[in-house]
Symmetry: C2
Subunit: 185 residues, 2 copies
Amino acid sequence: MSEAHPAPLVLGIDPGLRACGWGLVAGGARASYVASGVIRASPKETLGRRLELIHAGIAALIHQHAPAEVAIEDPFVGTLNPASALAIGQARSVAVLAAAQAGIEVSFYAPRAVKAAVGYGASDKQQVQAMVKLLLDLDATPKPADAADALAVALCHLSQRRIKALADEQTGRRANGQMGKALRQ
Amino acid sequence: MSEAHPAPLVLGIDPGLRACGWGLVAGGARASYVASGVIRASPKETLGRRLELIHAGIAALIHQHAPAEVAIEDPFVGTLNPASALAIGQARSVAVLAAAQAGIEVSFYAPRAVKAAVGYGASDKQQVQAMVKLLLDLDATPKPADAADALAVALCHLSQRRIKALADEQTGRRANGQMGKALRQ
């Protein structure tokens, strides 16, 4: 891990209109669990009320925990039917809005990237929960599955951040090397 | 038109991530034009910023004009690919949220219902614009097309409202008739 890029508090979100999972993970030499949960919006409510509940829930989490970055699971649209895409788009949209209103950058990750980040073989809900428990050194698997998925999104973001930091470092070293060479000429 | 159901100020919205059309129409014996326009959110901005612009734009319109009801064009998902459905879902979502936050009821209309409301044959953008001009007794066709579409959604809502009011009236008459009969027995 590069100390030049201190890992921040990341809010991971697994958007859904019925249940929107969230998970807070602090970066560092080893990622650590902060909190997780689910915002529920009953289908008995109007669409407007459900979107209001999700938006207000995410806004309250951001206000309370002040995460530096937000990471959201992006559905792979190729596998969705248009009605599902529309529903997921709506829940995701108000979560992205809440982050934007707080001036926080949002990163998006495909489900496949999230699964890869929590380890090879995490191909179903149970495996994702088990891997998240292991990676965050928890005593029990985080529940419900939506909360575990959100923690996995946050872990994916931290892992991408580390990869980017290492790449930036190498680019920097190469740039410095070239500059040194230029000075010697 | 039933005077028992005074027609309100209706905000029609044609949601889009790039251009979100809006149109305000006042009901009454004859619907009348109040205002219309488009909220633009450049694709050069981040998704979060674009959603913020659309949400803030709709919220400002609601604050300024205090419409009694909001009507939104609902895409017929069967004709969309999942990527388009996701994009429209996002724009629509923050418009619905702005209405819900102001405590205003939102009605959804399929494009076919909107076209039927502005008259038989309104099968393309130009025809919708021409019909909206005619119905609202305007000197020129409302432009751009997104604003005309939003006015058509508001007109569709007012027409559905009139149909519902007439149906309620007839149900009321029948109920009164039955009650009269019951009293006579």
